[in-house]
C-alpha cells in the first residue's frame, strides 16, 4: 500500500523537481490519450513537441507566443506571492489592446516615432484601469478580487466586440468586425528578420529581470512576500495591506495591458473581436509552473508557448482537434498541483512499520 508521510520540513529539491515531474506525467498522459484515440503516438508527439520548434521560424514563433505569457505570468506571480489573486489578466489584456489600439487608430494619419510609445503607455494604462476596478472593490468593500477580476474579463471581451462592430470598425472594411490595419509606425519592430518575433520578447525578458531584482533586493518585494506569508507580521512591520493589493493588481493589469497591445500591434496588426487565445488565463498556469519566481516563469512561459504551437501543428499535420492544446494545458496544471503534494509529503511503501521494536 502506498501512503503519504509528512516530511519533517518542506523539501527544497521537490520545489524545483515537482514541475519537471508534472511535465513528464503530462507527456505520459498525452501518450496514453493519443494511444486511446488510435492516433500514431510517436508522430503525434513529434508533431506536438518537436516539429513546431525544428525551424528558425518556429523558434521565433515560440518567442512570439511566450512574450505575453512571460510578461503576464511574471507580474501575476508577484501578486500570487502576496496572496492577491488576480484571475482576470485576460480582461486586462483586452482592455490594454482596446486603449492601445484606439491610440493607433486615433493617430492613423500620423507616421511619427512617438506613436508606438504612446500606444504602449495607453495599453499599460488601459490594463491598469481595468485592474483598478477589482482593486477598488477589494480595498473598499473587501470584495473577492478572484470573482470581480474574472467577471470583468467577460465585460472586457464584450466591450472589444462592441467597439470593433461599431466605433472602431474599418470604414472601408465591408462591414467586417475589424478595425483598420495599423500603419507601420504603429506596429512593433521585428527583432529577427523573416520572422514575426517582435520587441515584445526582449521587453518581457527585461521585465523578468526587473521583477527578479524587485523581489530579491527591494523593500517593496520584501513587503509583498511578507504580506503573502504572514499578513499579521506585515501589519506589525507597518506595511499597508491596501497598498500591496493596489500594487499587485496594477502591476498585473499593466503587464497584461502591455501584452494585449503587443498582440494587436504585433502579430495581429489591427483590432479584431478576439485578440488573445487565452494568454491571460494560461499565464496563471505559467506563474505556478514557474514556482512564482520570475526566472521560473521565463522557462514556464516557453513551455506553455510550445503547447500553443504544438496544438496548431497537431491540427495541421495530424488532423487532431484544437482542444488538444487546452487538454495539455489542463493536464499540466492538474499534475503540477498534484505533484506539489510531494513538497510537504513523501511516499511510504507497505504497511506502517512499527518503530517501537528492539525488545
Amino acid at each position: 500500500m502506498i501512503r503519504l508521510i509528512k516530511r519533517p520540513e518542506p523539501s527544497r529539491v521537490m520545489v524545483y523537481l515537482a514541475p519537471v515531474i508534472a511535465l513528464v506525467l503530462t507527456l505520459l498522459a498525452g501518450l496514453l490519450l493519443f494511444f486511446l484515440l488510435g492516433v500514431p503516438v510517436g508522430e503525434a508527439l513529434y508533431a506536438f513537441f518537436v516539429e513546431p520548434i525544428s525551424t528558425r521560424y518556429g523558434l521565433a514563433e515560440l518567442g512570439v507566443k511566450a512574450a505575453p505569457l512571460i510578461l503576464i505570468g511574471a507580474a501575476l506571480s508577484l501578486g500570487f506571492r502576496a496572496q492577491v489573486w488576480n484571475i482576470g489578466a485576460e480582461g486586462q489584456l483586452v482592455a490594454g489592446a482596446i486603449t492601445g489600439g484606439a491610440v493607433a487608430l486615433w493617430f492613423y494619419e500620423v507616421e511619427a516615432w512617438y506613436v508606438l510609445p504612446l500606444m504602449m503607455l495607453a495599453g499599460i494604462a488601459g490594463g491598469m484601469a481595468w485592474a483598478s476596478i477589482p482593486a477598488l472593490l477589494k480595498t473598499r468593500f473587501n470584495a473577492s478580487e478572484i470573482l470581480t477580476s474574472l467577471m470583468l474579463t467577460y465585460i472586457a471581451g464584450l466591450l472589444l466586440s462592441l467597439l470593433v462592430h461599431g466605433a472602431l470598425r474599418d470604414p472601408d472594411g465591408f462591414n467586417f468586425p475589424e478595425s483598420r490595419l495599423f500603419h507601420a509606425a504603429a506596429t512593433l519592430p521585428i527583432v529577427l528578420d523573416g520572422t514575426r518575433l517582435h520587441i515584445g520578447f526582449p521587453i518581457a525578458i527585461m521585465f523578468v529581470a526587473t521583477l527578479w531584482i524587485l523581489l530579491s533586493r527591494t523593500v517593496l518585494g520584501f513587503e509583498l512576500q511578507v504580506m503573502g506569508a504572514a499578513p499579521r507580521a506585515g501589519r506589525f512591520a507597518g506595511f499597508r495591506e491596501s497598498s500591496v493589493i493596489w500594487f499587485c493588481l496594477l502591476l498585473g493589469g499593466g503587464a497584461a495591458g502591455l501584452a494585449g497591445l503587443f498582440e494587436v500591434a504585433g502579430p495581429i496588426g489591427q483590432l479584431i473581436p478576439v485578440v488573445s487565445p487565452g494568454y491571460g488565463f494560461t499565464a496563471i498556469i505559467v506563474a505556478f509552473l514557474g514556482r512564482l519566481h520570475p526566472v521560473g516563469v521565463l522557462f514556464a512561459g516557453l513551455v506553455m508557448a510550445l503547447s500553443y504551437l504544438g496544438g496548431e501543428s497537431a491540427q495541421i499535420t495530424m488532423n487532431l482537434p484544437k482542444a488538444v492544446t487546452g487538454v495539455f494545458q489542463g493536464l499540466l496544471l492538474f499534475f503540477l498541483l498534484a505533484t506539489d503534494v510531494l513538497i510537504l509529503y513523501r511516499f511510504g511503501w507497505g504497511r506502517r512499520s512499527l518503530a517501537a521494536t528492539h525488545t
Binding site: 523593500v219 512591520a237 528492539h358
Partner: protein
C-alpha cells in the same frame, strides 16, 4: 478493552507500577530528543516532569500518548508490555491528556465540543452526555454548563472542558502539559484541588511544567530532564526551588533582584483615555485606558488572556490606528495615528505575544525577520533597496547577544524552538535601543535559563533609561522584574500599584476586575513625587 473503573483497577495493582518506561529513545534528524529515558509512575502519584524547553518532555509524553512512536524502549502498563501506536490505543488503556493548546471550536457548545473530542472508541454514552458532564464537573469542583458556547468562556473554563473530556473516559493516567500557564492564581488553586482529589482516587497524574513553586506544592515526585536525558529524580517537597532549577538548567541560578531605582525620568509613554471599539465579536473593546510609564521604569500589566491585551498591544504598536492621536503620547508627542514604522523610528518598539506569524514570518530567515522591524532604526534599507549584509549582521548580533540556538542568520524562523525564537524577537527590539519597549508575554513557554536572560536584558534596558511595559499573565515574572503593576480586565485597567507592596493574591483580584480597598495605589508612592499621577476609573479627563 476498557476496564470498569480507574479506582478499583489501580488499587488491585498495588505495588505494580501503573506505567514503567525503560530506555526510551527518540531521535529526529539532527537531534536526539530522548536518550534512554526511564520513568516509573505509581497509581495515584502526581509526578512532575520538569525540564527546560527542548529538554524532551513533550517528546516523552507524546510517546506515552501514542502521538509519536519511540525508536527504542519498552513501555509496561500495569506490569504488561504494551505498544502504543496511536492515541486511541492510549485512551483504550486509560491514558488521557490535556494539551497546552486547546483544540476547541469556539462556535460550538461545551457538550458538542466534548462529544466531538470523544470519538467512537471512547465508550462514553453520548446520549447521556450532558448529565455526565454535570455529574463529573460537580464531583471534581469543575463547574461547567454543557449548553454554553465556548467563545463565551474564559481560558480557565476552556481548560475545564478539556479536563472534563478526559475524566469522562475514566482515565488511570492523566497527562497535563503546562496546565497553569493561562490561569490566574485563584484558578490554579481550584485546579490543584481537582488534581489532588483525582490522585486520592488513584489516578496517576503526569504533570509537565517548569514552574517550580507549583511543582513543590503539588507533586509527590519529580523526574528532571535535560538535553533528552534524565538528570535527576527528586522529591519536590524536600528540594528547594533553586536546587530544582539548577538541576533543570545544569548550572546554579541566582534569582535576580530588582535594582533599587534611584528615581525615574520624565514620562516616556502615556495613554490618555485610550478607547477602542471592538473590531468583531471575538475581540475586546478598550475602555478609557489611562497609564503612563517613565524613563527607567518597568510597568507590568497583569491579566488573564483575552481581556484586551492584544488590542492594547496593537494600539500601542500602531497596527490599529486610534481615532485620536492624543490617546497615545510618546514623550508628550501624540502618536496614536502614526504607522508602526514611524513609531519605531522615533523609539517606540513592541514585541507582540504571538511569535510565529505576528512577531516573525515563519518561512523567512532570521536575517529577513531582523529586517522586518529593524529596517527603520538601524537604516537597513537604502533608497528602497534592502541592505542584505547589514540585515545579516544585525541578525547575527542578536543571535550572539541572546545566545539564540540556531543555524545562523539564514535559518528560517520556524526552524527555531519557541524559546529560541522568543529570545530572538525580544532581542531584536532590545538591540535597537528603543526609548519605550512594550513586550507581551516575554517569557511565555520559555525555559528558566532563557527567561532569566530575557529578564536581565529588560532590566538592563530600563537601567539605561528606557521605559518598559510588560504585559504578562505570569505573576512571578511581573513581581520579579516590575517596579509598578496594574491589571487589565475586560478592556479596563486597574489602578497602578508599586510592586513592592502588592501580593500575588491582590493582583489576582485585580485581574478578576475587583478593586483593592486596603492598598494605596501608586500615586505618589513609588517616588514620593508626581502626586498628579492618577489612574483608573477616577482619572481626571
Amino acid at each position: 478493552m476498557k476496564s470498569e473503573s480507574p479506582i478499583t483497577a489501580s488499587n488491585s495493582h498495588e505495588g505494580t507500577p501503573l506505567l514503567d518506561l525503560r530506555g526510551m529513545v527518540k531521535s529526529y534528524p539532527g537531534c536526539l530528543a530522548n536518550d534512554q529515558v526511564d520513568l516509573t509512575l505509581m497509581p495515584g502519584q502526581i509526578h512532575a516532569l520538569l525540564g527546560e524547553n527542548g529538554a524532551g518532555k513533550s517528546t516523552l509524553v507524546k510517546m506515552i500518548y501514542g502521538v509519536l512512536r519511540a525508536d527504542q524502549g519498552d513501555i509496561e502498563w500495569q506490569g504488561a508490555p504494551v505498544t502504543i501506536n496511536n492515541p486511541s490505543v492510549a485512551r483504550g488503556l486509560g491514558i488521557a491528556m490535556v494539551f497546552q493548546h486547546f483544540s476547541l471550536f469556539e462556535s460550538l457548545t461545551v457538550s458538542e465540543n466534548i462529544a466531538l473530542g470523544l470519538g467512537d472508541s471512547s465508550g462514553v454514552n453520548t446520549d447521556s452526555l450532558d448529565e455526565d458532564i454535570v455529574t463529573i464537573s460537580a464531583r471534581y469542583g469543575l463547574p461547567l454548563d454543557p449548553e454554553r458556547y465556548v467563545y463565551t468562556l474564559s481560558v480557565g473554563e476552556r481548560q475545564r472542558i478539556e479536563i472534563v473530556r478526559c475524566l469522562l473516559q475514566n482515565p488511570k493516567l492523566l497527562i497535563m502539559d503546562e496546565p497553569t500557564s493561562v490561569l490566574t492564581p485563584q484558578e490554579v488553586d481550584t485546579l490543584f484541588k481537582t488534581l489532588r482529589q483525582l490522585s486520592s482516587e488513584g489516578v496517576a497524574i503526569l504533570y509537565i511544567s517548569h514552574k517550580l513553586d507549583e511543582i513543590k506544592a503539588l507533586c509527590h515526585h519529580a523526574t528532571i530532564l535535560r538535553g533528552g536525558r534524565v538528570v535527576g529524580i527528586a522529591n519536590p517537597a524536600t528540594e528547594s526551588a533553586s536546587s530544582l532549577a539548577s538541576m533543570m538548567i545544569g548550572q546554579d541560578v541566582t534569582p535576580h533582584r530588582l535594582p533599587e531605582s534611584a528615581g525615574f525620568g520624565p514620562v516616556s509613554l502615556a495613554c490618555q483615555s485610550l478607547t477602542l471599539p471592538a473590531a468583531d465579536s471575538f475581540s475586546v473593546k478598550l475602555d478609557d485606558i489611562n497609564l503612563s510609564v517613565r524613563a527607567g521604569e518597568i510597568l507590568g500589566i497583569a491579566g488573564v488572556a483575552g481581556n484586551g491585551q492584544d488590542e492594547l498591544i496593537n494600539a500601542l504598536s500602531g497596527e490599529i490606528l486610534l481615532s485620536s492621536a492624543d490617546m497615545v503620547q510618546f514623550k508628550g508627542q501624540p502618536v496614536g495615528r502614526l504607522m508602526p514604522g514611524s513609531r519605531r523610528q522615533i523609539g517606540l518598539c513592541v514585541v507582540p505575544e504571538e511569535r510565529l506569524g505576528h512577531a516573525a514570518v515563519p518561512g523567512m530567515s532570521l536575517a529577513e525577520n531582523a529586517f522586518l522591524t529593524g529596517a527603520q532604526r538601524l537604516s537597513l534599507s537604502r533608497v528602497g533597496f534592502i541592505r542584505h549584509r547589514a540585515s545579516r549582521q544585525f541578525a547575527s548580533r542578536v543571535i550572539d547577544a541572546f545566545q539564540v540556538q540556531c543555524r545562523g542568520s539564514a535559518a528560517a524562523a520556524d526552524s527555531l524552538s519557541g524559546g529560541n525564537l522568543q529570545k530572538f524577537v525580544v532581542g531584536r527590539e532590545i538591540m535597537q535601543k528603543p526609548e519605550v519597549l512594550v513586550v507581551a508575554q516575554p517569557t511565555w513557554g520559555v525555559d528558566a535559563g532563557a527567561a532569566a536572560a530575557i529578564h536581565d536584558a529588560l532590566l538592563g534596558l530600563a537601567a539605561d533609561g528606557a521605559a518598559v511595559i510588560i504585559v504578562s499573565q505570569d505573576l512571578d515574572e511581573l513581581l520579579g522584574v516590575c517596579h509598578s503593576i496594574m491589571a487589565i480586565c475586560a478592556g479596563k485597567t486597574s489602578d497602578v500599584f508599586p510592586a513592592k507592596h502588592i501580593t500575588m493574591e491582590e493582583i489576582g483580584l485585580l485581574m478578576g476586575g475587583a478593586a483593592l480597598d486596603g492598598l494605596q495605589a501608586t500615586d505618589g508612592v513609588v517616588n514620593g513625587q508626581e502626586s498628579a499621577r492618577k489612574f483608573g476609573p477616577e482619572a481626571p479627563l
